[in-house]
């Protein structure tokens, strides 16, 4: 059985988060909380901790089994399979969403005339080849690239810190906590992806220490994202930030040091492509693996290609334009959608397992 280390799992998590947020920065994308919108990140982080708790407790109960295995044991064959199918759908949907957003960005900013399908196919074939090689390879890729991603990000931050405009951040709570809390709902679905750590828990080598690592990971991602948002707001001011389609990218674009150090957006682009690739690979892998389990196939590799095709198709039909995509991403739709999978299902499973007194085999035993 291939195993990854906690560190790799955490880096995969960072890649997932970075890919989904680095460019669009959902916390500052709405003018709801204005200057204080970065505050919604810590709030959302706190709100995401229970999700982590639930999935971890659940995963610890069944440390050797994946979701579908214990799902079937806890809920019975039929319901378990339905649950599995639902999760396959979720993974596909999120992956397709990410691919789509990636596509939108590329066709908006870098390759406006290239047919989107080319980009989609290329990206998905990359993720397919990573998914074929298994979680171990994804973990290693994350281990190699994600630290560089952070290094580059901190470089960009450092450049902006030199003309940090604190007055752009005031007032922190111009309209009180209300808007901040409301705004945190735009961020929560993304930070709630922390539940993926529970999903990949069975392939982790040193499970004893996972809990602490994952907690630290989600907190430090929250801190990083807050910093990112703070710097973005301080650079552009809240009103402009809220109007930008890709605030994160704009932040990198604005770097200009000494008349020669420009084009930091290359760095962000490179980080981001890598992040999206890692994220999609993970979802690709999870979808293919869960599907293989559903169909009682021994190796999931055969399903990688069909899943990839599904992802491309889904991404194509997902949204006609950015406005539609944003309509899907608005809290009223997206929060219930994601929370169902991130919190509701795991919580239900946990309760059912607890009531039925079901437990997985202890690894040490």
């Amino acid at each position: 059985m291939v195993k990854i280390s906690n560190w790799q799992a955490v880096l995969i998590y960072f890649a997932v988060q970075g890919a989904s947020q680095a460019l669009t920065l959902p916390p500052v994308a709405s003018s709801l909380a204005q200057e204080g919108s970065w505050l919604s990140v810590p709030v959302a982080t706190c709100a995401s901790l229970p999700i982590l708790g639930v999935v971890l407790i659940l995963a610890r109960r069944f440390p050797e089994e994946d979701l579908l295995q214990y799902g079937e044991r806890v809920l019975g064959h039929f319901l378990g399979k339905v649950l599995g199918l639902a999760y396959v759908f979720y993974f596909l949907e999120i992956a397709a969403l990410e691919v789509r957003r990636f596509n939108i960005f590329l066709t908006t900013d870098l390759l406006p005339q290239t047919p989107p399908v080319v980009i989609l196919v290329l990206l998905v074939s990359l993720s397919a080849s990573a998914a074929r090689n298994g979680v171990e390879v994804i973990g290693r890729l994350a281990e190699l690239f994600v630290p560089f991603g952070f290094l580059f990000m901190f470089m960009i931050f450092a450049v902006h810190l030199s003309h940090f405009r604190a007055e752009n951040l005031r007032p922190w709570l111009g309209a009180g906590w209300g808007p901040v809390l409301a705004n945190s709902l735009t961020t929560l679905p993304w930070l709630g992806q922390v539940f993926l750590l529970g999903i990949i828990y069975p392939v982790i080598r040193d499970q004893e220490r996972s809990g602490r690592h994952f907690l630290l990971a989600s907190i430090s991602w929250g801190a990083f994202l807050s910093l990112f948002c703070m710097i973005t707001i301080s650079t552009f001011g809240a009103p402009l930030t809220a109007r930008l389609t890709f605030p994160g990218y704009s932040l990198a674009e604005r770097v200009r040091v000494g008349g020669f150090l420009e084009g930091m957006d290359v760095l962000l682009f490179v980080i981001w492509v890598t992040g999206v690739f890692l994220e999609i690979s993970l979802f690709h892998l999870l979808a293919a693996q869960t599907l293989a389990r559903l169909l009682h196939l021994r190796d999931y590799q055969r399903l990688v290609l069909p899943v990839g095709v599904l992802m491309v198709v889904l991404a194509q039909i997902m949204a006609e334009n950015v406005a539609q995509l944003q309509a899907f991403l608005r809290p009223a739709v997206f929060v219930p959608f994601t929370l169902t999978f991130q919190l509701l299902f795991p919580l239900g499973l946990l309760l059912a397992a607890w009531l039925r007194g079901l437990k997985g085999a202890d690894r040490r035993g």
Partner: protein
């Protein structure tokens, strides 16, 4: 030999290794044996190769030729770009849309040393001949995008705004309002956030068609001007992000450098920065002279250099500002908004023409106090002017908003009114840190 044969033939060719002790078949017999074995091996390995190869090939084809079949739509060679160095926006004389001016580089004249010299020579002539390193083109359009696309009709290259340094806005256009102009520059993928914003006294077109004095093109000249204007601190070059940010931030008005054309002694039209253009709600409402501009820059904390000219006993003293920190403190006195501005400035003694000893703590103290007064005066002058224009370029409103968000909501509606009567207290603290390489001045006996 007779014994060896049956065993030898019994040896399965594939599995048993011939390594080490494995018996090699004696000469001729073995040689005869080998060909079938060999062929079977190659055909088998070919089978393996063929079995695995398609997958890899497919991946390769998927990666490469998939890309190839589709072509390369976005590819533009550098030499087929019309690299725009600066753009200007004026109002169309009939009031119908804009006049969009682009200054396009001629790389062959700009890029190489020899070409540069030629460009300079041509520049002196003042003509628009082929020898000039850049070429200005102006076209009208209802929207900037429309105008930009119209250039395709007369330009053999693709207009490229990705490395444009500066956008100059004509006076009239600025008076009409700049907010809508920037939609294009922000929305389009090419112009960058580091695009500098400047306002022309007169038309932007006129500014862009001046002769560059030291650089090869006006675009580059403005770009470099922006870098060293801080030594004088009489103007400010915000980039697009800054400028638009200020336009949109409540309680703060935008400023942009004012560019003027003048005629130098050779009769060429040249360009210079002269103070600031002041906006209110995105519309140009007036100008600050360089002196007034510095009054603003003091409060914004943007004075990084520049001379403070002071009188001493019988001559003049010049201090050079080297560092600055500002604290803007909004507050209320009896429900009346008041702003306190505290400045701390580090200066050098840059020039001193006073007879008699100056370099003593007491005299320096006196000079410092004089400088403080001067700074205060400059700020107050600017404040009065800004209050007349009702343009809160200092961002006092935003200071209130940051500090007293609740009260700000009440004031926001009539902030312009409140600002025009706002009481501002300025305290300055000037310290002379160094005196250059001389202590006392040169005095002939």
């Amino acid at each position: 030999m007779a014994e060896g044969e049956p065993r030898e033939s019994g040896r399965p060719l594939k599995k048993s290794s011939c390594a080490s002790g494995g018996l090699p078949p004696p000469s001729a017999r073995g040689a005869r044996r080998l060909p079938p074995g060999n062929t079977s091996r190659t055909s088998e390995s070919r089978g393996l190769f063929l079995r695995r190869f398609p997958g890899m090939l497919l991946l390769l084809i998927g990666l490469l030729s998939g890309v190839y079949l589709t072509g390369c739509w976005d590819r533009v060679e550098v030499e087929s770009l019309a690299i725009v160095l600066a753009v200007g926006v004026d109002l169309e004389p009939q009031g119908d849309g804009f006049l969009f001016t682009v200054q396009v580089a001629r790389p062959s004249l700009l890029g190489k040393a020899g070409g540069g010299a030629m460009g300079g020579g041509g520049g002196n002539g003042g003509g628009l001949g082929q020898t000039r390193a850049s070429w200005n083109a102006t076209l009208p359009g209802r929207t900037l995008f429309e105008a930009e696309r119209r250039f395709r009709r007369q330009m053999s290259r693709r207009l490229f705004l990705g490395t444009t340094k500066v956008v100059v806005i004509g006076e009239e256009a600025a008076r009409q309002g700049v907010g809508e102009l920037f939609d294009y520059f922000l929305r389009d993928r090419e112009p960058r956030f580091t695009l500098l914003v400047a306002v022309a006294r007169g038309t932007a077109r006129g500014i862009l068609s001046t002769e560059p004095a030291l650089e090869k093109t006006v675009g580059q000249e403005i770009d470099l001007l922006s870098r060293y204007i801080s030594d004088d601190s009489t103007s400010l070059f915000p980039d697009m992000a800054d400028f638009v940010g200020r336009l949109w931030t409540p309680g703060e008005e935008a400023v942009a450098p004012a560019l003027t054309a003048y005629e130098d002694e050779t009769g060429s039209r040249r360009l210079r920065v002269e103070g600031l253009a002041v906006f209110r709600k995105g519309r140009l409402v007036g100008w600050f002279t360089p002196q007034e501009s510095r009054g603003l820059l003091w409060v914004l904390g943007k004075v990084e250099g520049g001379a403070i000219d002071l009188a001493c006993s019988q001559g003049r003293v010049a201090l050079e500002v080297t560092g600055q920190s500002v604290r803007v403190q909004p507050g209320f006195i009896a429900d009346r908004p008041v702003v306190e501005v505290h400045l701390r400035d580090d200066t050098n003694l840059a020039e001193e023409q006073c007879p008699g000893p100056v370099f003593t703590p007491e005299t320096l103290k006196a000079i410092e106090m004089q400088a403080e007064d001067k700074i205060r005066d400059e700020i107050m002058t600017t404040l009065t002017k800004a209050q007349e224009m009702r343009a809160d370029v200092f961002g006092f409103g935003r200071a209130f908003r940051g500090r007293y968000p609740g009260k700000w909501r009440e004031m926001e509606g009539q902030w312009e009114e409140i600002f025009s009567r706002l009481e501002v207290k300025v305290t300055a603290d000037v310290t002379i840190r160094r005196s250059g390489l001389l202590t006392e001045t040169v005095e002939p006996r």
